[in-house]
């Protein structure tokens, strides 16, 4: 793989290279009623704050994961990263250049070549009328990476074999493949333009567990061989545990906690992270008297003031309802947005 010159390499405090840096990244969707309804019926403007000021560094060659329940904004982050959505505010720096507000197709093309996305549903993300060879060659053609038909065919064969399929599968149609094989096809297509960065949005949620294991192993093998950087978006904590080096936990458009994966699972600090980890049924250590987390996720259209989690938090105090906590290290590895952690009034985990 040829490396482009990379201007302005960002280094994190610990010396690792930051491939993607998000600062105050925000996406608001205007979901107001139509103008006429607002004028005649006095309905107000409504803004959905899908992502509300997100700070995150994604280290090169590692896997960063965003976890959270539906409506927490994790998929919106993914879509902003691959330039499908334009951020409302904030910076999105990829390999040294701020790409958040780039909208010119020609300027975006070289960036899009270096980042690809794998979607959840391998049945919806592959064109059913195209043969596999054409599907996988599309990024090569779209980015003008190769002209010679023979060279493209060789590259497609190589990609297919790389993801555990056979070269002659190029002549078949997507419907001839099982769900797991289709997800392999999606991965082969994503790799076709030799990207550095893969965004995987719930890559195995649509698959059966035995197939999930195959795909997760494949993703980790490819990372090791090709030095890829991953952002994995998922609600499945067990998948995150297997894949991620760094984990960000999201709740209602904000990060509650970011930490190295081992630390996050061994010593979760934010009350939401703790309850989330405690709440997941576990095959190896079943707890038949597990106490579920109380309450439901509030509507992202009308998030609670202060800390968005205070309505469900067993340790919430008056300050939590008033003042939004900032994401700060508070002495640990990673960072956490919680007044109770800052004030040291959280009991030890499990207590």
């Amino acid at each position: 793989m040829s490396e482009e010159p990379r201007p302005g390499v960002i280094l994190a405090d610990d010396g690792t290279e930051v491939l993607v840096r998000l600062r105050g990244l925000t996406k608001h969707f205007d979901v107001s009623p139509p103008l006429l309804a607002r004028l005649l019926e006095g309905k107000r403007r409504r803004v959905l704050k899908a992502v509300d000021g997100l700070d995150l560094d994604i280290a090169r060659g590692r896997t960063t994961a965003l976890v959270g329940e539906s409506g927490c904004g994790k998929s919106t982050v993914a879509r902003m990263l691959v330039t499908l959505y334009e951020p409302t505010a904030g910076d999105l720096v990829f390999e040294g250049s701020d790409i958040g507000r780039l909208r010119d197709r020609r300027a975006l093309a070289p960036i899009r070549r270096r980042m690809q996305m794998i979607f959840q549903d391998p049945f919806a993300s592959l064109n059913p009328r195209w043969r596999v060879g054409r599907i996988i060659a599309e990024p090569i053609r779209a980015h003008g990476l190769m002209d010679d038909a023979g060279a493209i065919r060789r590259r497609v064969s190589e990609l297919l074999e790389h993801v555990g399929l056979r070269a002659h599968d190029a002549d078949r149609f997507p419907h001839e493949f099982s769900g797991g094989q289709r997800q392999r096809l999606s991965i082969a297509r994503a790799l076709a333009s030799s990207p550095h960065f893969l965004v995987c949005d719930e890559p195995t949620s649509a698959l059966d567990v035995s197939v999930q294991a195959q795909i997760l192993n494949l993703l980790r093998d490819l990372q090791r061989e090709l030095g890829l950087t991953y952002l994995v978006i998922t609600h499945d904590l067990a998948v995150v545990r297997f894949m991620a080096d760094t984990i960000g936990v999201m709740y209602l458009g904000r990060l509650c906690e970011v930490a190295p994966a081992d630390a996050l699972f061994a010593r979760p600090r934010h009350p939401y992270t703790r309850l989330l980890i405690e709440t997941v049924p576990d095959l190896r250590a079943p707890d038949r008297d597990r106490k579920p987390m109380a309450g439901e996720v509030p509507s992202p259209l009308d998030p609670p003031p202060g800390c968005a989690f205070h309505t469900r938090c067993p340790w919430a105090a008056a300050r939590c309802a008033r003042e939004r906590p900032a994401l700060l290290p508070h002495g640990g590895p990673g960072a956490v947005a919680c007044h109770a952690v800052e004030e040291g009034r959280l009991p030890a985990p499990g207590g």
Binding site: V209, A238, R241, F265, P281, L283, R284, V297
Partner: protein, 334 residues
């Protein structure tokens, strides 16, 4: 030993299609004891939902029960007229499905749906039914139940809707509930609430549950026994702890090993090569043999019956009386 509440014997569900007859459930047998939670696990296409649908008489045409018997409290229910089946559904067998909106009528208030269901099956006055509806909604954790009686399904969140469906399933005091992926459509924090609720209510009402799910974690924490299906056939059945920690069938062994956990981060997950065969191309002999690391000649030629190996039983030639394995192996930590 007590009489089983539900007894399924050699159940076969087939779908006649233009390209031949598909067998979705192929010779499945199991019992559910009163008050017991039996988990049914398997990957997509394993036949777990069709098994549930056959019991409750809700197979989608052209699907039909081709052979086998289903007995509920000693009474045969697999050949009842639609009318008689309707009287069993709701009254003696309740149902909770994945999507609460398929169980709720969007045009009726939930109070009406509850009282109507109760009055169809039980001898109650309108006022009695309303009182009982309020009590039930309170029991399933709907806040201010008396005020919510006149609300419509769309006015509830997904988790609250599933609570209403559970109230609806329980309202005529059935002896058995068929819960088909009851938490799959919900968020993780809500999933745990619903599983805990289902478990508590069934204990309190002494209702048995057939819990169909793909999530082994839920089974491990909820079920008393578990049946593992593969390719429409029963691969293994036994107490949850035995099936999870001392699996007999190589498929169960592979399935348990490939599930990631939040407790450790192995360099690789164990994997079962290949994928489940399609119903159109079921291999001869044992359905699992093309993927099985222990397959031998007999597995290719002959379909294994269920061999008893207390406390579990497995359909695998390794466990034949003269078979290769003497005792189940403790699953090694991956």
């Amino acid at each position: 030993m007590a009489e089983p509440l539900l007894s399924v014997r050699d159940l076969r569900v087939t779908f006649p299609t233009r390209r031949g007859v598909l067998t979705a459930v192929d010779g499945v047998s199991f019992d559910i004891m009163p008050g017991e939670i039996l988990g049914v696990v398997g990957e997509s296409g394993a036949g777990k939902s069709q098994t549930g649908a056959a019991i409750i008489g809700l197979l989608e045409p052209p699907g039909r029960i081709a052979s086998g018997t289903i007995h509920l409290e000693g009474e045969r229910i697999d050949r009842l007229s639609p009318d008689k089946l309707r009287r069993i559904r709701g009254r003696r067998i309740g149902a909770v499905f994945q999507d609460p909106l398929t169980s709720l009528n969007p045009l009726y208030t939930i109070g009406r749906q509850l009282t109507e269901t109760m009055r169809t099956h039980l001898d109650l006055s309108e006022a009695q039914a309303r009182d009982r509806a309020v009590a039930l909604l309170g029991e399933v954790g709907i806040p201010a139940p008396a005020d919510r009686l006149d609300a419509y399904p769309h006015q509830f969140s997904g988790g609250m809707r599933q609570r209403v469906v559970i109230a609806l399933a329980l309202c005529a005091n059935p002896r058995l509930i068929i819960a088909d992926e009851p938490t799959t459509a919900l968020d993780v924090s809500i999933q745990a609430q619903i599983t805990a609720l289902l478990k508590r209510l069934c204990r309190e009402h002494d209702t048995a549950v057939l819990l169909i799910t793909h999530d082994m974690g839920v089974i491990a924490e909820t079920a008393d026994r578990v049946a593992v299906l593969y390719g429409g056939r029963l691969a293994e059945v036994g107490p949850v702890d035995a099936v999870v920690n001392r699996p007999l069938h190589p498929y169960t062994e592979g399935l348990m090993a490939c599930i990631p956990t939040t407790h450790d981060r192995p360099p690789r997950l164990a994997q079962i090569e290949g994928s489940m065969p399609s119903l159109r191309a079921m291999p001869a002999g044992c359905a699992f043999h093309p993927r099985c690391p222990h397959a031998f000649n007999r597995c290719v030629a002959e379909r294994p019956p269920l061999f008893d190996h207390p406390p579990s039983a497995a359909a695998c030639w390794l466990w034949a009386p003269e078979g290769a394995r003497a005792a189940p192996r403790e699953r090694t930590a991956s």
